[in-house]
């Protein structure tokens, strides 16, 4: 526990140093920031957007926005939390368009599955995305921030600009939703395996 905390502190300190370097004009130092957070930000985008290619594009744009605005960053929140805020706004923008365009894939698949009771057509990532689809945007964000960064409720609250108790309540609600859906997901998955075999 202590070791992990220490290593987290060291990592935070390293990030702080890099951020200061970039803020003072060393743009190249930002590559270290990208290296440190790219996987997490990518996964966050991937599960919010549901598409690998878009997640890659989005992650790049988020890092660019971070770099463009880094002079405005101050340590009222951690740098990662600040990045997740940018990520949220960017993904929301994309999702609004997605709802009107790219969502046809998931909706189309869903239509097939529910209308025809052929749930077997689902595959595993559909199962995770389908579970996430049961959640509203705030719930998704909470689940993803808990999952990817293992943030505390307090940290999530500061990123989402909500009260910690609200985050906790929302988390309880999303857990219930997930558990309700899980059985269905399990069935889908088992069928999918049979199909594949």
């Amino acid at each position: 526990m202590t070791t992990s905390n220490t290593s987290k502190e060291n990592a935070d300190l390293a990030i702080k140093t890099i951020v200061e370097q970039v803020q003072s004009g060393d743009v190249h130092a930002y590559t270290e920031i990208i290296r440190s957070f790219q996987k997490q930000i990518y996964i966050y985008c991937y599960y919010l957007l549901g598409n690998k290619e878009e997640a890659e594009d989005a992650a790049q744009d988020i890092f660019i926005k971070g770099l463009e605005n880094i002079r405005n960053f101050s340590y009222t929140v951690s740098f990662s939390a600040w990045l997740y805020k940018i990520a949220h706004h960017h993904c929301m923008d994309l999702l609004k368009r997605k709802n009107k365009s790219y969502k046809f894939w998931t909706s189309f698949k869903k239509e097939q599955a529910y209308d025809q009771s052929h749930r077997q057509a689902y595959e595993y990532d559909d199962f995770i995305h389908e579970l996430l689809e049961k959640l509203n945007v705030d719930e998704k964000r909470i689940l993803l921030l808990r999952s990817i960064e293992e943030y505390s409720f307090d940290e999530i609250a500061s990123i989402m600009e909500l009260k910690p108790t609200t985050v906790r309540k929302k988390y309880e609600r999303l857990r219930k939703k997930l558990l309700k859906e899980k059985k269905l997901g399990g069935e889908i998955y088992e069928h999918s395996l049979k199909t594949g075999g």
């Binding site: 660019i64 595959e123 558990l179 199909t195």
Partner: protein, 383 residues
């Protein structure tokens, strides 16, 4: 009860772990920095190797776009005739700002439409409550109607929201008849644009999904609502098919296990490659239907793969059948190919209990082509 709760906790923990440990190998460093450099084109002093590379790439894209058109014209296709038609909407003559299509980075077809003068420039604006919405341009290539939109906000107002976020409702009428699409995802698409003051809205017909085909020339009325403004923005847009396409109806089918896969139609235009596929089951009585998991890649004879723009699908339920019909719209080919190859594929997953999507060392999904369903269609340039 307690045990049950613990079990439930464990299940959610497990899901979180699956998300956290999603196997990805991403390396966005160079791509991001290149993109950043290229976005700073107002600062020429910041020249870097990466930026030069990007310029080089842009030149290649432009050259390739020029090649498409040269080839299409060589192939005796109808040459593009841009039309300018006066619109009936309330006009506010403002200088036309830069092309929205041109700034469409993700869609090389629209970019090419602007570069080659295939799109019709419009300058139709409607103003309500100090908010002006303009249609800057339109193009219809027989597969999709793309409309460029731009906003001009009240003086001094600079909304944080993009135009896309502000648009809350989109409806269309064709020659005065409302196009009552079942839902917004069934033929109306919004294309991401980097400029937050701009947007591309696209609409396709639903001729393969129970609707009528669009005529060659028509008046399209866009009615859209902007958040916070009660009155809708209604704009008439004259649309004419640029007629620059190759239309093939190969109806070639392949079979694999219980799947019957058919290429119904292929349309090649300077802006779009449109492919209509039909996915049927050989044994319709089966309870196992894995058709939804079959996707396609499209290649030219040189192995160049096309990027998907958008698509829509429906289930055709006639006399007990339930074929899946999908219209996919992809980027145009860089040069007119001798043939195109459609390669159906599925994604690969790890075995139970992890079952995660398999990714390669670049973090890309691992796919498996189904050779038995592969179809190559020769393109006769004299068509």
């Amino acid at each position: 009860m307690n045990t049950r709760l613990k079990q439930e906790d464990k299940e959610v923990d497990q899901l979180e772990k699956i998300i956290r440990e999603t196997p990805v190998e991403v390396d966005l460093v160079n791509r991001t920095m290149r993109k950043y450099e290229s976005s700073r084109d107002t600062k020429p002093s910041e020249k870097s190797r990466t930026r030069q590379k990007l310029h080089h790439r842009i030149m290649i894209i432009t050259t390739s776009a020029a090649m498409i058109f040269s080839l299409l014209i060589i192939a005796n296709l109808i040459s593009p005739t841009p039309v300018t038609i006066k619109t009936t909407a309330t006009k506010k003559d403002e200088p036309i700002s830069s092309s929205v299509f041109k700034s469409s980075e993700r869609d090389i077809g629209l970019h090419a439409a602007d570069e080659k003068g295939l799109s019709t420039k419009l300058n139709t604006s409607i103003t309500h409550e100090g908010f002006t919405l303009s249609v800057t341009e339109v193009v219809y290539d027989g597969t999709r109607v793309a409309i460029g939109l731009k906003r001009h906000q009240k003086e001094g107002e600079n909304s944080k929201e993009s135009l896309s976020e502000q648009i809350s409702k989109v409806e269309f009428s064709l020659n005065g008849e409302p196009l009552n699409y079942p839902n917004i995802i069934s033929g109306v698409f919004m294309q991401p644009i980097k400029d937050k003051d701009a947007e591309v809205i696209e609409i396709t017909d639903r001729k393969n999904h129970g609707g009528k085909p669009f005529p060659k020339q028509f008046n399209l009325t866009l009615s859209t609502t902007i958040a916070g403004i009660s009155e809708p923005f209604i704009i008439d847009i004259p649309v004419r098919d640029i007629g620059n396409h190759i239309n093939l109806q190969p109806k070639i089918s392949r079979k694999y296990k219980n799947n019957h896969f058919t290429i119904e139609q292929v349309i090649l235009t300077p802006i779009t490659t449109s492919i209509t596929i039909r996915k049927a089951l050989l044994d319709k009585s089966t309870s196992v239907d894995s058709r939804g998991g079959i996707n396609i890649d499209v290649f030219d004879d040189q192995g160049n793969k096309l990027k998907l723009i958008h698509g829509n699908g429906s289930r055709e339920t006639n006399e007990g059948t339930s074929d899946l019909i999908e219209d996919l719209r992809l980027h145009p080919f860089e040069t007119l190919p001798k043939s195109i190859t459609i390669k159906p594929y599925i994604y690969l997953y790890d075995a139970y209990p992890n079952g995660a999507l398999q990714l390669d060392e670049n973090g890309d999904r691992i796919i498996q082509y189904i050779q038995e369903l592969e179809i190559t269609i020769p393109i006769n340039s004299k068509e």
